[in-house]
């Protein structure tokens, strides 16, 4: 009985949260296949631990798990990418100049991926998941005042990144 109830809750949670988690992973990983893999791993890990997680903390648990799994992947990827030159990355980026919504999404992804993963998660939880400081503190297992000061720091960084993006866009336009 408990088992089928859990399965039902799991299905509901999967339907409600997978899109949000998938988009969060897309923003920080910037790769669809990686986001799919981590999303799958996250839900499987959650299902294993579901009995020991409070129902009110399901969402926090999912985001925390996704964050740690994504972080591991980023570390692995960074270790591999040390051999790749920046020149190649620039070329690759220029080849995939997106447009409209896709272009805006790419700018946001680009900016968020320049933050530390924890800062990107903070942004995600506040802006896209509409969590308050208390909920964010619970998700990141920290205090509300730490959440506030980290958010301010992350926002200041983002402002710098946005301004740099604007400059780059202006330069590109003047070249064209």
């Amino acid at each position: 009985m408990k088992l089928s109830m859990n399965n039902y809750k799991f299905e509901v949670l999967l339907q409600n949260e997978s899109k949000k988690l998938f988009n969060y992973l897309l923003k920080i990983l910037r790769n669809k296949e990686d986001a799919e893999d981590i999303l799958q791993e996250t839900f499987i890990a959650f299902h294993k631990k579901m009995d020991s997680v409070k129902e009110t903390s399901y969402k926090s648990y999912l985001f925390r798990t996704a964050y740690h799994k994504a972080l591991n992947l980023i570390k692995k990827r960074n270790a591999k990418n040390k051999l790749v030159t920046n020149y190649n990355e620039m070329e690759h980026f220029e080849d995939k100049q997106p447009k409209n919504n896709e272009q805006q999404n790419e700018l946001v992804k680009d900016a968020l991926s320049q933050l530390k993963p924890e800062e990107a998660l903070l942004m995600e939880l506040q802006f896209y998941q509409k969590m308050n400081y208390k909920q964010i503190a619970e998700t990141l297992e920290t205090t509300q005042s730490a959440v506030d000061s980290k958010l301010v720091r992350a926002k200041k960084k983002l402002i710098k990144i946005i301004n740099e993006q604007k400059k780059m866009q202006e330069n590109n336009l003047s070249i064209v």
Partner: protein, 134 residues
């Protein structure tokens, strides 16, 4: 000099925008902002981030991914109780077979050794006693 570039309320502005301050503090900050140009500029800058982040349009989860997740979950963890029952049954049957093997082999060994000694003793005894027909 410091007063010209910084304001003691600056640290509260993010919490103010996020609606995280108590009503009393919120009103206090709001009143301050109305007469502080530094804070007004800072608020505008912070709101730039909000506007930038809200440009993002969410992507859909790829078709079939949720079903794929459900399938992998049901394959590996759908019935932990039954998995425990099966594991226990296997372990129990191996243990029973092992125990039965020991009991049976002991029984057979005892049976075989008894009869051999008896036959052997009888045979030798008969041989030395001269009852043994060659």
């Amino acid at each position: 000099m410091k007063q010209n570039n910084e304001c003691s309320f600056e640290k509260k502005l993010n919490a103010y925008i996020a609606g995280e301050l108590s009503e009393m503090e919120h009103n206090k900050v709001r009143e301050h902002i109305s007469r502080c140009h530094l804070c007004q500029n800072e608020i505008r800058t912070l709101q730039q981030v909000d506007n930038f982040l809200f440009q993002y349009t969410e992507d859909e989860v790829p078709a079939g991914l949720n079903e794929k997740i459900l399938n992998s979950v049901s394959k590996s963890h759908s019935n932990p109780f039954m998995r425990k029952v099966v594991s226990f049954s296997i372990a129990a049957s191996v243990l029973i077979s092992f125990m039965a093997g020991i009991v049976l082999s002991n029984g057979l060994y005892a049976e075989n050794t008894d009869s051999d000694i008896t036959i052997g003793e009888d045979s030798l005894y008969s041989y030395f006693e001269g009852d043994y027909d060659v």
